[in-house]
Symmetry: C2
Subunit: 263 residues, 2 copies
């Protein structure tokens, strides 16, 4: 069996939290959870008493290639057995009641999981069955609860979506990408000098064609044109294109200009 | 038709971004997208050239009650038509190439969408079809691209998962929940005075039973016990339980203590 047939190569990046699906019902969802885990760089999946038994081919079919996560799944009779080797247990839970327990947001949980795993301790996160969620005994096994801040008017969160949000926050907790960046690929952002060259070229042609002939208004008009071109980051390549546009648009007038004295 | 039959009441919370699914293939996914939108407080859904036409009953069945979002869907022949009334267009896109365009993370996009919507401008986010993603012409319709930072070794992100991450970040961008909180329900966190009372009670009984009889070691032992009980936040109710445990555990010894002089 080649690596390709076994699905994507999902490298284990050090110590990552275990995802524990407690009494999951649908194999499709287990596959979708594995896919979401792969998206967020998680690898270890444990199942507690899956309703329809294990393994289920549907899970592999619905995992979009996250086969290695499914191949490595372990099955456990109860939560206590699934978490016996872990040092920290988190439990996701939409509406905890009458429980005295720390409650984290998904983002808070991700930060704490990073800190725990960074200390070489083993952590796991419990996710309840599709309909009912975790019961009180499941939650009593956990150190902390995780409750996602989401629309209180619509709390029905799909199991794989719940895993996705946690996996996404796990990934983001160690992510350095800037929130906004100009992707320039082969070119680069133009310097102010290059922008000035273009504006000088444009204003020259606008003077020549008469667009700026109203002399009292000319300074304000030039300023407004400058405001527009200053607004966004412009690339060196785009400025060359703009130079070309101004030159080409001016050719007809220049030719007429040369022609007129003769006419 | 009652409100209940039409699914969850999803109130429109002011100006929210439009989700535009471009050439979506599976009705199941459209339903799952509506569900994810509802989770994150989004409402407006537009479809560009859905492969299997519209409406599709499967979408409603897979939306977990987000019917009102699906009831209000509009269908468009192309992207230009779907975004004609918008003022800002974002395009999600996993691996843009040879494009000069600002690129935002999901978190960066959510912050900018909040700012745009807060200025009463209309914004939309394009999501590409399941297999291929947005094509170059689609992306050229957008002001900015959105690229989620996720595991580069496993980029296959389900369409509804992509919508979920954006909807989640949209919700989080206006969310005040603290990352960690101790949920205490009917009780409250104990004061240091209440903790001190309990420790005094415990040490009294430990003195009485002889646990602290090694006098040179006694101060260190008391300190270690104090360290344990100081570690986490303890509630007033839990301290009462601990008082009760110490008292009950001591009863046998006290009764023996009373009995011994007689025996």
């Amino acid at each position: 069996m080649t690596g390709r047939e076994r699905g994507a190569v999902l490298e284990l990046a050090g110590n990552t939290p275990v995802v524990v699906l407690v009494r999951p019902q649908l194999a499709d969802n287990i596959g979708a959870c594995a896919r979401a885990m792969a998206n967020g760089g998680l690898f270890h999946l444990r199942l507690v008493a899956p309703r329809d038994g294990w393994p289920q081919p549907k899970a592999w079919r619905n995992s979009s290639g996250a086969h290695r996560i499914l191949d490595a799944v372990t099955v456990h009779a109860n939560v206590a057995d699934a978490v016996a080797d872990l040092q920290h247990v988190f439990a996701t839970c939409p509406r905890p009641r009458h429980i005295v327990k720390p409650v984290l947001t998904a983002r808070g949980a991700a930060a704490e999981l990073r800190a725990i795993c960074g200390r070489d301790l083993r952590a796991g996160v419990l996710f309840g069955p599709e309909r009912a969620g975790l019961d009180n005994d499941d939650m009593a096994q956990a150190d902390v609860l995780v409750r996602y801040p989401l629309n209180p008017a619509f709390m029905s969160l799909n199991l794989a979506q719940a895993v996705m949000v946690l996996a996404y926050e796990w990934w983001m907790a160690d992510e350095q990408t800037r929130p906004r960046e100009l992707m320039t690929n082969e070119t680069r952002i133009a310097t102010k000098g290059e922008l000035e060259n273009f504006l000088a070229h444009l204003v020259d042609e606008l003077d020549a064609c008469g667009f700026l002939r109203n002399l009292p208004k000319r300074p304000g008009m030039v300023r407004n044109i400058r405001h527009f071109f200053q607004r966004g980051e412009v690339t060196e390549q785009e400025l060359r294109t703009l130079h070309g546009i101004v030159t080409e648009l001016s050719i007809g007038r220049r030719q007429r200009g040369r022609a007129e004295p003769e006419g």
